[in-house]
């Protein structure tokens, strides 16, 4: 079985496509899921998609090692974000007894 070149040799575009898919899925999660924790997980997915792109560009593109370091910083910030976001989620849960985003519409009135 002979595969075409673009299929047989995964390059930059392949990784970018995976990243794009991950991004879209993450966005979908953020937009549709009503649980705050799920929203958080969607954000993590988006961040990882970005990370994948960065590292891929670092490998194939003209980014050298900077991409790696960007990815590292994103991971660090994601960790911080996750900690704070979960703390917020807990606080909201304590306050309202739910983490359903649909019900958390105090801003409305």
């Amino acid at each position: 079985m002979v595969l075409p070149d673009w299929l047989a040799e995964p390059g930059l575009n392949h990784f970018l496509v995976v990243g794009a898919l991950l991004f879209s899925l993450g966005l979908l999660a953020v937009m549709t899921r009503r649980n705050l924790i799920m929203v958080l997980m969607g954000i993590e997915l988006i961040l990882n998609a970005a990370n994948l792109n960065l590292v891929a560009f670092s490998r194939y593109g003209a980014l050298a090692l900077d991409g790696h370091l960007f990815a590292l910083f994103v991971i660090i910030i994601a960790a911080a974000e996750a900690a704070v976001a979960l703390a917020i989620a807990l606080a909201i849960y304590n306050r309202f007894g739910t983490v359903d985003v649909e019900q958390l519409s105090d801003l409305r009135e």
Partner: protein
């Protein structure tokens, strides 16, 4: 089709499928575990891309840290049986439509763009080089990141532990509307 391609496709399928499971699963705990596989698969991708250090960090921080944190969050914010953890989705149709459009657009852009290519060799990526960059060109972000983490820790502790909400106080779950 060499090993690289095989590993790539294998893990690409793994990553995308587990991500899809995470997004579409009705059970939040399943979602969390699916996310774990996604993240681990991504670590393999990083390794494929000569980013060994990022891969290790990914495993340590994401899989070992954030994911555990998320699982804790799930457990602390859900009560009773997992049945009740099942959650509905909203705006499924427009969201799916938009997400699909974005995915198509992104892929179109990625594929059609003629990227400047300057591939790395495996030997270029050393821990020493990364460390040197961190302490030279990225000195400021490095320090700021440290401060940020410290602040995040303090902030998280404060926010999660500051005051006892009505749940702890009364031991019952009041109606959210009534509280508001």
């Amino acid at each position: 089709m060499d090993l690289f391609a095989i590993v790539f496709y294998l893990f690409a399928i793994l990553i995308v499928s587990t991500a899809a499971i995470m997004v579409f699963s009705k059970n939040i705990v399943y979602s969390a575990f699916a996310l774990m596989f996604t993240l681990a698969g991504l670590a393999v991708f990083y390794a494929l891309l000569f980013a060994g250090f990022v891969a290790v960090t990914q495993l340590l921080v994401y899989v070992g840290g954030i994911l555990v944190l998320i699982l804790f969050g799930v457990m602390l914010t859900t009560r009773g049986y997992f049945e009740r953890v099942r959650i509905r989705t909203v705006y499924m149709l427009p969201s799916a439509l938009f997400a699909g459009i974005i995915a198509v657009l992104l892929i179109a852009v990625f594929v059609t763009t003629d990227w400047t290519l300057a591939p790395l060799s495996e030997g270029d990526v050393t821990l020493a080089a990364l460390g040197e960059l961190l302490l030279t060109d990225f000195m400021l972000p490095f320090q700021v990141a440290g401060v940020l983490l410290l602040l995040a820790i303090i902030g998280a502790v404060l926010m999660a532990a500051r005051k006892r909400g009505p749940l702890e106080k009364k031991g019952t779950v009041p109606d959210a509307d009534k509280i508001i």
